[in-house]
Symmetry: none
Subunit: 203 residues, 4 copies
């Protein structure tokens, strides 16, 4: 009757650990991160951390497992039956917003890919590829009707990824160029213009 799921303290601690781990893994990479630092930042001892997760590897996996879903959500929301230009610019906006609200997730992902995707490689060739293929067909259809300019849909999607994530992943460099306190509003305007011009059908 009283099926008890993970107790409150369980979920709170697990959440605290994952938060700290996200911070550390994103900043230092998998090998660079130490359980000591993660535990410290989560406010518990190292063996206590291992009471909640069986190993460093599994903490990392717990972070990655949800990540791709989060990451692809903006793409998933593209509606083949919507208004093409609005759908695509909306996608760009959502993806940029996500990158800016979740920079640590972005860097965690970047780290994983940079190292050759040892852990989520299969998912890339599976779920990711499938989703891209699906959306690419919608975009291609739009291009054929002349609603948008003819572009390679897959490279278009890759461009969105590259441009939006760069602001999160290469933040230090961006800041060095733009100045410490730039609100990055220029980025949004710039990307919007960029994709508008790229996609605008010829007059």
């Amino acid at each position: 009757m009283t099926e008890t799921g993970p107790s409150r303290i369980q979920s709170e601690k697990r959440a605290a650990i994952l938060g700290a781990a996200l911070e550390v893994f994103a900043a230092e990479g998998f090998r660079g991160a130490t359980l000591d630092r993660i535990a410290g930042e989560a406010g518990l001892s190292k063996p206590n951390l291992l009471y909640y997760f069986p190993s460093k590897e599994e903490v990392h996996e717990a972070l990655l497992s949800g990540l791709l879903d989060l990451w692809l959500a903006p793409l998933r929301r593209i509606d083949p039956d919507g208004e093409p230009m609005a759908e695509l610019l909306g996608y760009v906006r959502r993806k940029l917003a996500l990158s800016r609200s979740h920079p640590r997730e972005s860097r965690l992902f970047a780290n994983e890919i940079l190292q050759g995707a040892p852990r989520i490689g299969p998912t890339l060739s599976g779920a990711l590829r499938d989703l891209v293929e699906e959306k690419a067909q919608a975009i291609a259809a739009w291009a054929e009707t002349g609603a948008i300019a003819p572009v390679d849909p897959r490279h278009l999607i890759i461009s969105v990824w590259a441009l939006t994530q760069h602001y999160a992943d290469f933040d230090v460099q961006v800041r060095a160029v733009l100045g410490r306190d730039d609100p990055l509003d220029g980025a949004e305007a710039h990307l919007e213009m960029l994709f508008e011009r790229l996609l605008a059908p010829r007059a």
Copy 2:
């Protein structure tokens, strides 16, 4: 006459070490790389490696120190007195070519930035920023004359970086989407079109 600089064997070994180190650092990150692996791939013993470089840190630094120069060369070649459109598209082409011919350097750089640029941070705010500022002014001047569309020059440069480097740094992901054997020629065409449309002055 008998002033002896570094003997040939010296420089050869140093070069071999740096080559191996580039491979390993790019693939595994700084902490993930081990001197053992670098030494092994360079074909010498670990203590011998440390005879040529005093520490792991310094091997890494030796790689990074030359890197920014290489990395900024395409940008540097933009000629304020040249034909605007040709200059900028030439820049894009050169930068993409560089990323594709030097993917390991690209990843090494990406790793460093992702970790917060602990080693080349100062250079970013110095030399890098200065160069960008200089070229940005030239681009801004072009925009004012109407030779190109009005764009934020700094975000333009950032876009070039993002789009070109992405193909090197996120290779695994790109391959997952495009297929293992895609020659990536589509990337070049796509980027050229992208920047052409972005920069083309209004009719």
Copy 3:
């Protein structure tokens, strides 16, 4: 009237723990055994186990303390006034039966002795030695009357131990030689013959 000794549940749990501990200590040795495994096999939690026994050490000791009594029972039953040959062969039979019915106890004991008897050393030099001495005199007396062949009684007893326990302690090796499914009946016949011939008085 209401003096309450250990409640039934108390003794039942203690018994369950000791049963599981016997299994685990016999199979893995003292250091190899973990409270986790013992608790798991006893069907309770680790802290709960430590509610019944204050420490791993004491679980082990509880097992050992009763063990020597059990182990020496067959020897104790030798009757100085009985028929010599029957008494001794009966002893051999009882000891072999015990080893076969209690292989885990045998291995627990073997482990303890192998490690130098850190816990029951004193008992060996005390109770064990005394009992052996007592029975040795009886055997010596039999030898003097010519009822059995003249043998060193202490080495005789040691031989019984060695031969009977070996079948329990070295079971894997015995099985490797005799085959997985040998019922070990041959052992009984063999040992009986061995001691019969050893002890039969000269014609």
Copy 4:
């Protein structure tokens, strides 16, 4: 031309480590033994030990790998064409001598078997079983000619193992019974008599 095998210092250190490891593994079992103690007893640091052997497991294996050969040497020397009684009694004598000169090896072996032979199990069912089978046939042949009493040859061999090894493995207990300073000469006489009577053909 100058094919160099392991340098002298290599073999010396390896030998020292194996010596110390034999001591510790025999006394504490695999899990009970610590690299710290082995290294300490061998006179070097723990990482230095791991410079010579890649892991604790491999130190252990290095000890075990040669052990069975040593252990079976006495059995192997039984000559089917020799004088039966002399061959068998010689075997007993050699095996007892070996157990007494190599008590640590004996205990190392006992530990391994007690734990279920996790590492040399296959060898037991292979090389060991084959050798026993071979010698058992020779013994059976002797029994058939009447040169020795009819005994189960495999149980005979097991008896030799049990009786000889017991003096090494259960040394503490034997000493508790016989006295700290007994030279154990009685053991030799006893075993000789035991097997003589067991094997002597009926008059």
